[in-house]
Amino acid sequence: MLKKLILIPALALSFMAAANVAVIVHPSNAATLSQDDINKLFTGRAKTFTDGKAAEPVNLAEAVAVRADFDQKALGRSSSQMKAYWSKLVFTGKGTPPKELASEQEVLDAVAKNPAAIGYVSAAAVTGSVKVALTLN
């Protein structure tokens, strides 16, 4: 019995570690987004939503666990590969990486108050102040 009790939180933890990533936008944002659209926005290859409105992607700092999940699931690359990718653009005047925020709460706040923003948090962290555009499993 005791073993089982220990097992449940352990399972919950491992489940949370592989949490789904929710890509979030402002509640007023009606654009539909595919994984490819998100990839383009977060790699600087697209600067507008599919409806033509300007997009401002906000990233999470590498220290936040969900960042690595997002890089892998949405962009198909490791965080190191993404850093190499951006260093090619930053040091050649060809692009600027998305702004990085230090916590999921900061991303939620930034997206909630900016109609142009697009960010991501773990699915469990989503609040009513933002709209989930796509969930990445």
Binding site: R45, K47, T48, E62, S78, S79, S80, K83, A84, W86, S87, K88, V90, F91, T92, G93, K94, T96, P97, E100
Partner: protein, 378 residues
Amino acid sequence: MLKRKLLAATIAASLCGASQAAVDINGFASIKGGMALSSDDELYGYDDDLSFKNESLAALQVKSDLGDKLSVTAQLLGRGADDWDVKFEWAFLSYDLTDSLRVNAGRLRTPFYKYSDFRDVGYAYDWSRVPQSVYGLGFDNIEGASLYHTTTLGNFDSALQLIVGSYDGDAAIGDATAEAQIDNVTGVAWELGQDGYSFRVAYLIGKTTFYVDPLDTPVTGLYAQLTGFGLGALAKDLDIIDESSSFAGIGFNIDKNDWLLVSEVTKATVDDSFISDQESYYISIGHRFDSITPYVSFEKEDNQAKTEIYAAVPTASPIFTPVAGLVNSLELERDSINVGVRYDFHPSAALKAQYTNADNKTADRKDRVLVVGVDLVF
């Protein structure tokens, strides 16, 4: 990228209340130790003494967004090989005409090769150095303006760059460097990419002038002497004064299922001069095992001396030896093999090691070099 945002407003408050421009400071560095593997070997600036200076570098980039689509970027770079003298490697302003069209003007990188723009940023690629057989023109920068256009064509991402400008500084001439001036540089580079595949072409032309001390010297120089002998036409075939020059490059890159394949083929010519036509290529294959990426690459340089220049000169003539010697000195056939590994041991740094064996068939010598180092961005 760890970005340090300094709100200029804070600085401005103490200065003169300038606009609220945000300043981004980024940097990169490579610290490498390397040496040739036997006492006779020499390659890429290494001999058989371990050197931490030869290929190490550090750079700091400051970019200020002035708002209204205008920004200014300066990149200060110091190379160990230049005693860490810091120079402006890039210094340009950018103006975004539209979301997909940007004008850069100032000191820029000439887009000869796929890795030209970021060849100094070792962190951005897996090798310890870009393949020297191909990346060997001896100059990188240009003062001018470029138009950079990005768009999607069907499923492809297209990046088109048009550039105009001129270069004034040292450039490679065989294994040596000489003072050069390349005027009216006009070029185009186009890269198409889709889902791990990319394809690139580049073509540039310009007017090249080289000043080579013992050749161009008045009276005693080779050209002056030839002209004195009534061989002015031969002197003109040799000298490098405002000669039409061209560079053509084609390359592809595949990054699929953790396999990495990249290749470039280039040809550079300087007409009506003793500079040989330079044909080069490399092919590199690697595989990413999580944070460890081993690779092998093969490079080839084939520079054929323009022996036709002195074909009409009798071998008994006193000028035959100096002229043939000069022309033939730019003959080079060299194959190089590289084996190396990149290890991403840290979120912002990669440890790399690379062994190179260069087989110079023209000089009948083999040179081997081993380099180990860390590339990082900050």
